[in-house]
């Protein structure tokens, strides 16, 4: 049998082998059907899809690195002039820093509050629980633009206009409903008996939560945190409306100022786009595995 397999695969495996082997796992019918498909039928469509997805990014990189006025389809000779312009002349260094502050603070605030809210929804029964959950869902139907004026009034009264705090609070508030629902789904998946065991061992509720539940929530926390970060990083409206000082503005607002009334500097716009995309790409590159797990698990097991 082993010899036959070796012959089939063209390997030099010995005909007899004394070392104990694990029995081959049974492959499902679906997996066997997948093996029968020629590889090109899988890779060609995937390759085409990848090219289709990457073309806009290539276009952005092309304009960002190509000298102004060039019509070449490759970014050569390469220039960093556009990056220098957006970073130094158009204050993207400051915008980047502000966006990072907003993104990280929103991530932290959203995750912490969503953890508390999600735990309460998952572990406690109270009279208006269903109504509360529905309220959270309904809040998703309210567009941010509708809340602009009231939020503006509130932040003005709190002396928070022209402060990054206003954007962080607004972003957190808009992220929370979905985040709470997701985290609540995750916590429900952690058996209460695990926590009870910790209580028996002398832990209080908070310590049991930190020691037992929290480590199991990693995919959910990463999903919620990254979603909060990326959303606040890209969000334009609140930053535009609540911040009226140049050195407080964020990357999305800065990007929009590169489009003038009658002219647009495409090189600078593309370079600004690259600067804006880099953190998001890095975040997704590191967390994509947990992100997919996190969203699917939190979403379906409520």
């Amino acid at each position: 049998m082993t010899a036959a397999l070796a012959e089939k695969h063209g390997t030099d495996a010995p005909a007899a082998d004394d070392t104990p082997r694990r029995p081959p796992t049974r492959r499902t019918k679906r997996e066997r059907a997948f093996d029968d498909v020629p590889r090109w039928q899988i890779y060609v469509p995937l390759g085409l899809y990848l090219i289709f997805t990457l073309i806009p990014f290539y276009w952005m990189l092309l304009f960002a690195f190509r000298p102004a006025g060039s019509t070449s389809l490759v970014p050569w000779p390469m220039t960093l002039d556009h990056f220098s312009k957006v970073w130094n002349e158009r204050s993207f260094g400051i915008f980047f820093q502000n966006s990072m502050i907003v993104g990280v603070a929103t991530l932290v605030a959203t995750t912490l509050v969503a953890l508390s809210g999600g735990y309460a929804l998952a572990r406690f029964d109270f009279r208006i629980k269903k109504g509360f959950m529905l309220g959270l869902l309904c809040s998703q139907f309210i567009p941010g633009a509708l809340m602009l004026v009231p939020l503006f009034e509130i932040f003005k009264n709190l002396q928070l206009i022209n402060s990054l705090g206003s954007v962080i609070i607004a972003e957190t508030v808009f992220q929370l409903p979905l985040s709470i629902i997701l985290i609540s789904g995750f916590i429900k998946n952690v058996p209460v008996s695990l926590e009870e065991a910790a209580w028996v061992d002398g832990c209080g509720r908070f310590r049991a939560f930190c020691a037992v539940v929290l480590p199991l929530l990693r995919p959910g926390l990463i999903a919620v945190g990254s979603f909060a970060f990326v959303h606040s990083w890209n969000h334009f409206l609140f930053a535009l409306m609540f911040l009226s000082e140049q050195d407080k503005q964020t990357i999305p607002v800065g990007l929009n100022t590169l489009i003038g009334a009658d002219s647009v500097d495409l090189g600078a716009l593309a370079a600004g786009g690259v600067v804006a995309a880099v953190p998001v790409v890095i975040v997704f590159a590191f967390i994509q595995k947990w992100l997919v797990t996190g969203f699917s698990a939190g979403a379906v097991k409520g």
Binding site: M147, L148, T257, I259
Partner: protein, 440 residues
């Protein structure tokens, strides 16, 4: 009723009540403000933040040098969102002392009672008699409050037909100075198989005003209103527009259907398209991409021998009523609209100055498209059809409400007459409503 339905009902009701309550708050931004002591810090919102940041920084530096007691806080606002930024600030507070205000949305801000009338201040200032009469008239009309002015004009743009001189020379064509020459050139320069086109038409955002420009330009109709009814759907305009949109896909790229000015200009600057109808604002972009290979002229002359074009928005500076330091704010406006600074700003923007002395400066004669545009506006050779910027509904009628209709027109799903009839119906209603509101 089940428990679930009750909860759902309560939640929806609560959401609706919260949303409605929340949106009901706010003030109207019409606080009377204060003259102040003429010193301190003032805030200035640039309505075309980004592209004009460098020149404004320079002007502010000049101003602060001359007025050491006044500091100007500069805030660049992206042009696409300036109206919503003003609207939010009018509703919630936080308006600047001075703001860039174009005639395209001046009426909207005036209607919300947020701007200070500036006619008297101009009359008592060094700007008296130094503003180009056509821009003053445009600002008065756009404000919609009779002879009162609600912004100090600083700059005017003009529709320009940009064309590739290298392609025209190679094809043995004359400059497209008349509509007949324009159509001939569009056809002769098209070689669709080799991705060469004679013209690029604006089919995406901002498509309606250029379409009206082409319609009035060819029909020769010079008035927008005939009594209380608009002339926009005059059969002559419909025929002219039908001919113009007939170019779509024949002598233009099919991608034009969704092109806003950004894509249209980028397409023209990087491709082999013979002509582009835009305004003076894209001059610098063409200079960078096509230096020495292009020229810009005002709209073509019609069969009647006269150039007719629709009015272009006039940019200006507004003094906000809620300002607590109007004296200092006015000093800044006066300074920015003065000869030297207005000239500096317009040279940077490639636009036509609203200051009469700045309009005579040498840089204008050196920039051929600007010179021709300035001449067209001042030498009496051009009839300008005044678009009704004063109507608060003008922006929605000329943009969101009818841009999808224009795409249908390009695709042949509606006729030019039907398209213009729809616009005319909306305009006539808006005009009647505006007249009713301004009866007193």
């Amino acid at each position: 009723m089940t428990k679930f339905s009750k909860s759902l009902g309560s939640a929806v009701a609560l959401t609706a009540v919260l949303a409605l309550t929340a949106t009901a708050c706010g003030d109207d931004g019409s606080g009377s403000g204060d003259e102040g002591k003429g010193k301190g810090t003032i805030t200035f919102w640039d309505n075309n933040g980004g592209p004009r940041t460098a020149v404004w920084t320079e002007i502010i530096k000049d101003f602060e040098k001359k007025n050491p007691d006044i500091k100007v806080k500069y805030v660049p606002i992206p042009i696409a969102d300036v109206q919503s930024k003003y609207d939010t600030a009018i509703s919630g507070g936080g308006l600047p002392d001075v703001g860039g205000v174009g005639t395209a949305y001046l009426a909207n801000i005036v209607a919300q009672n947020a701007l200070e009338p500036v006619g008297d201040r101009i009359a008592k200032s060094a700007l008296n008699g130094k503003l180009v009469e056509a821009t003053v008239a445009s600002v008065k009309v756009a404000g919609g409050k009779g002879d009162e002015m609600y912004s100090v004009p600083t700059s005017v743009n003009n529709g320009t037909l940009w064309y590739r001189t290298d392609l025209f020379t190679a094809a043995g064509l004359e400059a497209p100075s008349t509509w007949a020459k324009f159509y001939t050139a569009a056809e002769k320069l098209t070689d669709a198989k080799n991705n060469k086109f004679g013209f690029t038409i604006r089919g995406g955002a901002g498509s309606v005003a250029p379409a009206l420009d082409a319609a009035y330009g060819q029909s020769g109709i010079t008035d927008f209103w005939n009594g209380d009814k608009t002339t926009v759907n005059d059969p002559k305009n419909a025929a002219a527009l039908g001919k113009y949109v007939g170019l779509f896909k024949k002598t233009t790229p099919s991608a034009d259907l969704n092109n806003d000015f950004t894509k249209m200009v980028a397409q023209w600057d990087t491709g082999t398209i013979g002509m582009l109808s835009h305004n003076l604002g894209s001059y610098q972009d063409h200079e960078k991409a096509l230096k020495g290979k292009f020229a810009g002229i005002p709209n073509p002359i019609g069969d009647g021998g006269t150039r007719v074009q629709v009015s272009n928005p006039v940019d200006g500076l507004g003094l906000f009523k809620a300002s607590k330091n109007k004296a200092a704010a006015w000093k800044f406006i006066e300074f920015a609209a003065s000869h030297a600074e207005n000239s500096k700003w317009n040279e940077s923007a490639g636009a036509i100055p609203a200051n009469t002395e700045a309009a005579k400066d040498s840089w204008i004669t050196e920039a051929e498209p600007t010179k021709l545009a300035a001449a067209a506006l001042t030498d009496g050779s051009t009839k300008v059809v005044q678009l009704p910027y004063y109507l608060p509904d003008w922006n929605s009628i000329s943009k969101a409400d009818n841009e999808p209709e224009f795409q249908k027109l390009l695709l042949g799903k509606v006729t030019a007459q039907a398209f213009l009839d729809k616009i005319a119906k909306e305009l006539n209603a808006a005009q009647a409503e505006w007249k009713q509101q301004n009866k007193s």
